[in-house]
């Protein structure tokens, strides 16, 4: 907690001081860069909407529950606790949603038990892959992603198994 609280302020402070040393027009440069944010968000909005509509419909239609009940035994064979399955399914789609679920796991099982530790580590070994992929490719010409998403998902699953394994020993 100690380092992480001070990290961002120190980085920003160092940057501002450096810009004075370099005699830059800091204010003008900041405004110029900040202007780009509008275009960026505008271009990613339809992509995120499409994904989130799909996630919402899967949840209310009960499809998510069915998937969880199918995948839980498979994941269990790989050493992943059943309780974490829903988190694994949700994680590739939404960052805020998966953190909400992680919090739920902490509250239900207590933050220090094996399940919660597994869930904590796997949050870092995986990433909101569908979100990142749509956002990163939104401003490019790319229409065919080839093997990108399956490979990213596979690596995430590997990371999750590894996270559960490491938590057994540490």
């Amino acid at each position: 907690m100690f380092i992480s609280n001070y990290l961002v302020p120190i980085i920003i402070l160092a940057l501002l001081i450096y810009s004075i040393v370099k005699k830059l027009e800091t204010y003008n440069i900041f405004v110029k860069g900040a202007r780009g944010a509008f275009d960026l968000v505008l271009s990613i909005f339809p992509f995120i909407t499409a994904i989130m509509i799909m996630v919402a419909l899967m949840r209310v239609s009960g499809l998510t529950d069915i998937l969880v009940s199918f995948l839980a035994p498979v994941f269990n064979l790989l050493g992943i606790p059943i309780e974490v399955t829903e988190l694994i399914l949700l994680r590739p789609f939404t960052g805020s949603g998966s953190y909400a679920l992680l919090n739920e796991i902490f509250v239900t099982y207590g933050p220090n038990c094996y399940i919660s530790r597994c869930a904590s580590v796997m949050m870092s070994t995986s990433e909101t892959i569908f979100y990142v992929a749509t956002v990163y490719f939104a401003q490019t010409s790319v229409k065919r992603l080839s093997y990108a998403i399956p490979l990213a998902l596979f690596c995430s699953l590997f990371g999750t198994i590894l996270a559960c394994l490491i938590c057994k020993f540490m």
Partner: protein
Amino acid sequence: MNKIWTYMMIVSVIALTFTNPSVLVTEMTDASWNVLKLCAQLLAIYTIWMGLLEIVDQSGLGEKLAKLLSPLIRWLFKIKDPEATKYIALNLSSNMLGLGNASTPMGIKAMKKLDDGSGNATPAMIMLLIVNSTIIQLLPTTTIGLRASSGSQSPSDIIIPTIIATFITCLFGILMAKLCEKIFSRKKCKKDKGGK
């Protein structure tokens, strides 16, 4: 992506038609509204970070970082373009520190530079996606914060397992990406030869 999305939508809508048809439109509108709120939040965050990153850029710090990381980036992505190298360097280093919101705009800029206009994802672009999704996390700030707020006595004791797990996963991801690159480029060669 087109297929996954369409099929998932079809199955969900069919299931909903049988169970609870009245909520379909409200759920979709809710989801869209939530994304709009998320985007407003992102706009606020990106405005700050993109402003600061422009300072990083103009002050020449970006180039310095790029020079430091360029051997690694050249090996991973097989690119020489200095602009792309700089954006990738900034993207990866902010990602490692858990500053996801700062790294996303840089990632998008890097992708734009890597784009060859063919409509296909190049190996370098896929590598960037893989490295981004498996990258070493030195400080998982959000998780630690959540653990602390739910009453853990040692919220940061997951840092070391996290560093180990993400380090191995990252190496694994890079190896798999290199492997897939070889397999797919060989397939492509065969196809090209067959075509001629």
